[in-house]
C-alpha cells in the first residue's frame, strides 16, 4: 500500500533563510506527488504537483520540489522564506482507486515556524 513519510514534525527557520522540507513515499507504480500548504484554521492549498516529465517542478509562492525516484523522495524547497510562509505543509501521493476516483494519501505534515 502507498504511504508518505514526513520525518520532520516541526521546523523553525529564520526569515530570509533557505528551506527544505523532506518527504519520502512508498508506491509501487508511477507516483503522482503533491505538496499542499495549510494556514491555521484554513483548508489546504496546492503548492505544486508532479505527474511526469521534468523532475524539478515549480510551484506557487516561490516553492519548488524535486522528484528523485532512486531515493523515493519529493522534497520541497524555497531559497528564502518569508514570515507569511509559516504554516503546515503536507506531502501527498496520488493513488488510482475505484471507478477512477483519485485518492490521495497524505503525510502527517510538517509545521513550519519562521524566526524573525
Amino acid at each position: 500500500a502507498q504511504s508518505v513519510t514526513q520525518p520532520d514534525i516541526h521546523i523553525t527557520v529564520s526569515e530570509g533563510a533557505s528551506l527544505e522540507l523532506r518527504c519520502n513515499y512508498s508506491y509501487g507504480a508511477t507516483p503522482y506527488l503533491f505538496w499542499y500548504v495549510q494556514s491555521p484554521g484554513q483548508g489546504l492549498q496546492l503548492l505544486l504537483k508532479y505527474f511526469s516529465g521534468d523532475t524539478l517542478v515549480q510551484g506557487i509562492k516561490g516553492f519548488e520540489a524535486e522528484f528523485k525516484r532512486s531515493q523515493s523522495s519529493f522534497n520541497l524547497r524555497k531559497p528564502s522564506v518569508h514570515w507569511s510562509d509559516a504554516a503546515e505543509y503536507f506531502c501527498a501521493v496520488g493513488a488510482r482507486g475505484y471507478s477512477s476516483a483519485s485518492k490521495i494519501i497524505f503525510g502527517s505534515g510538517t509545521r513550519l515556524s519562521i524566526r524573525p
Partner: protein, 115 residues
C-alpha cells in the same frame, strides 16, 4: 472558475446529537467529491469519496455516513455524535480527466467540537 463551499464553518454539538455538514461545488460538472477529517496535530484521514450521485465509498468504518443527493452536493452526517468525532472536516473535489490524473481542491473546512 471553480469554488467549493462548506458550512457551517464552526459547530459545537453535545454528545449524542445528530450532525449534518454540507459541501457544495460550483463551476464544474460530475466532480469526484471527498470528505476528510483532520484531528488536532494530525494529518488528513479520508472518510468517504463519491464518483457520482448516490455513489458513496467508505474508507473507514465509523459513526459517520455520507450522501450525495445532487451532482455538486456532498453531505456528511451522523445520527449520534461521539467525543471522538471532534476535528476539522474538509471537503475536496477533483476531476478525473480521460487517461490522466488530477489534483484535489479543498474547501475552507468545518471545525466540529463535540462536548
Amino acid at each position: 472558475s471553480q469554488t467549493i463551499h462548506q458550512w457551517p464553518a464552526t459547530l459545537v454539538q453535545p454528545v449524542g446529537s445528530p450532525l449534518s455538514l454540507e459541501c457544495t461545488v460550483e463551476g464544474t460538472s460530475n466532480p469526484n467529491l471527498y470528505w476528510y477529517r483532520q484531528a488536532a496535530g494530525r494529518g488528513l484521514q479520508l472518510l468517504f469519496y463519491s464518483v457520482g450521485i448516490g455513489q458513496i465509498s467508505s474508507e473507514v468504518p465509523q459513526n459517520l455516513s455520507a450522501s450525495r443527493p445532487q451532482d455538486r452536493q456532498f453531505i456528511l452526517s451522523s445520527k449520534k455524535l461521539l467525543l471522538s468525532d471532534s476535528g476539522f472536516y474538509l471537503c475536496a473535489w477533483s476531476v478525473f480527466p480521460p487517461g490522466g490524473y488530477n489534483e484535489q481542491f479543498f474547501g475552507p473546512g468545518t471545525r466540529l467540537t463535540v462536548l
